[in-house]
């Protein structure tokens, strides 16, 4: 079943239009990756989806139109966005970062979930009373994912989770993401420069070029595509 459906999405910054009508979809339980060069509009796509940027076009989530909705409403509706640069609340402690992630929840299982994420990322547990901003880039990326997951989302948007991280940390992160999808059935939309890693956990993928979709297909098809291999896999 289609979870997220995007059609003719247009967005930009002031007079500069970045997205010239982008179409894609994410089905329930899928990991969809958007590949693309710098400046092709990957981050803009995610920011338009979550409502940080004003956008035109159709965005339907679980069948309801969420286009032009404010970001806090989108979050309340079940879409969690891990922004580029990790978005750490630097003055808050690690634990406060996680608890803020559960802001929209009204249930009583928040404590249990905080403990769960300390198990998934033991380094967050070790640093629970430290300010979020004092942690390393990799730890902050783990924190960003755990914070987003604290809202119990139906769809996770990830913007360049590997950016600036050591390869070994990146692999660990993608292992966790893959597990989240496999065991919990969490749907994800991943924007990533590291095409090899991203296609490794993805069901399907799209290639964004200058603000519109140039190629689409299953992860295996994209990984086998000569143009994609040359441009994004460096083979």
């Amino acid at each position: 079943m289609t979870l997220l459906e995007v059609a003719e999405l247009r967005a930009g910054y002031g007079p500069v239009q970045v997205l010239h009508g982008v179409d894609f979809s994410v089905n329930e339980g899928e990991v969809v990756v958007i590949l693309g060069a710098n400046g092709s509009g990957k981050t803009t796509t995610l920011r338009a989806l979550s409502g940080i940027l004003p956008a035109r076009g159709t965005v339907r989530f679980e069948g309801r139109s969420i286009g032009g909705q404010r970001p806090e409403k989108t979050a309340q509706g079940g879409i969690a966005h891990v922004p580029q640069g990790r978005g750490t609340l630097t003055d808050l402690t690690v634990e406060e970062n996680l608890r803020l992630g559960a802001y929209c929840r009204r249930d009583s299982r928040v404590d249990r979930d905080v403990g769960y994420w300390y198990e998934v990322f033991p380094r967050l547990g070790d640093r629970r009373t430290q300010p979020g901003g004092s942690m390393s880039g990799g730890e902050q990326q783990m924190l960003a994912i755990a914070r987003a997951m604290m809202s119990n989302p139906k769809l996770l948007l990830l913007d360049e989770p590997s950016l600036g991280l050591a390869p070994i940390i990146t692999q660990e992160l993608f292992r966790v993401l893959s597990k989240l999808n496999a065991s919990d059935g969490l749907s994800m939309l991943v924007v990533e420069q590291n095409a090899g890693l991203a296609l490794g956990i993805a069901t399907r993928g799209y290639v964004l070029e200058s603000g519109s979709i140039a190629v689409s297909g299953s992860a295996a098809e994209l990984a086998a595509d000569d143009d994609v291999r040359k441009a994004y896999l460096g083979i």
């Binding site: 806090e72 979050a75 969690a80 802001y103 300010p131």
Partner: protein
């Protein structure tokens, strides 16, 4: 010795006054990241409102409560109408807007309430006691008690409640807060409302201890409140209180014992701040920001 204790007491008296307004400054800074230069004039308008209500015959403490409530709404409206349009701008723009607000509110107060000094009534009997040869005013005790309660309530709100966590989250990173579903606009309005309410309480209790209510009533207090907040650390409510007391006591003692400082007493707290900030730029209790990428 008695003399010294009396000067110390006078300093504490002035200090709690500075601290009560510094607390409002810290609250806005902690929840919105803005230095609000109009804080004193917001409190001034609130204090005039309290005075007017009392003049219309309301018991003073009822007038204060009403004024605090109305000021909460007023502060939230100021955020929505005046601050929100420039929220995304550079800190310099926001500072200039709050200075504009300072001038506007001050002029507004003069237009509405005139330029004559009004006698501001107290909500409690104006008594004083002799304690070991030191004259202790009811004003001081009331202000200390109110400050103590404010500190505890603020600490609990910011550190122990979900709203407090969201307020601090918004100050730390508005976009990330928005992305986890925090209604940032409402939080900013709430922070400004709270600060305005604190200012109203401070003004309504402080002005009766001065010569009278005029449009200039809050200005010297605001200067020293800023000094107190800078000294204690702009993000620390406890720092605001300790900073206020240090500024008050330093001012009182130096003017009492150093003759040539009498005409330029303002130099004392600011000299002190200079030294503290040179050694500890975040203030005595301020958190040093660490950020790795």
């Amino acid at each position: 010795m008695d003399q010294f204790l009396q000067h110390l007491m006078n300093g504490i008296e002035a200090g709690v006054i500075y601290a009560s307004l510094a607390l409002a400054l810290v609250l806005i800074f902690k929840t919105t990241g803005i230095l609000n230069f109009a804080q004193g004039e917001m409190a001034l308008v609130s204090t005039y409102f309290t005075w007017k209500l009392a003049e219309w015959g309301l018991p003073v403490w009822v007038a204060i409560l009403v004024s605090v409530g109305v000021s909460f709404v007023g502060g939230a409206l100021i955020e929505r109408v005046v601050i929100r349009p420039v929220e995304q701008s550079s800190p310099l723009v926001i500072v200039i807007v709050t200075i504009g607000l300072f001038l506007a509110l001050n002029s507004l107060a003069q237009v509405i309430f005139g330029t004559d000094a009004h006698l501001m009534p107290r909500a409690y009997p104006n008594e004083s006691w002799d304690l070991l040869g030191v004259n202790v005013e009811a004003d001081t005790l009331v202000l200390i008690a109110v400050l103590a309660v404010e500190c505890v309530v603020l600490w609990y709100l910011l550190q122990r409640t979900k709203v407090g966590l969201a307020l601090r989250g918004v100050a730390s990173n508005p976009e990330s807060s928005r992305l986890v579903g925090v209604p940032v606009g409402s939080m900013l309005m709430f922070g400004w409302g709270l600060a305005a309410a604190l200012g109203a309480l401070a003004g309504s209790l402080v002005v009766p201890t001065t010569a009278g209510l005029t449009a200039g009533s809050m200005q010297s207090i605001l200067v020293f409140a800023f000094a107190a907040a800078a000294l204690g650390g702009f993000d620390s409510p406890l720092g605001a209180v300790v900073g206020g007391l240090i500024v008050g006591v330093a001012q009182s003692l130096t003017t009492a014992y150093v003759d040539w400082l009498n005409d330029i007493e303002i130099i004392v707290p600011f000299g002190l701040i200079l030294v503290v900030l040179l050694i500890k730029p975040a203030g005595l209790f301020g958190k040093v920001r660490v950020e790795r990428v």
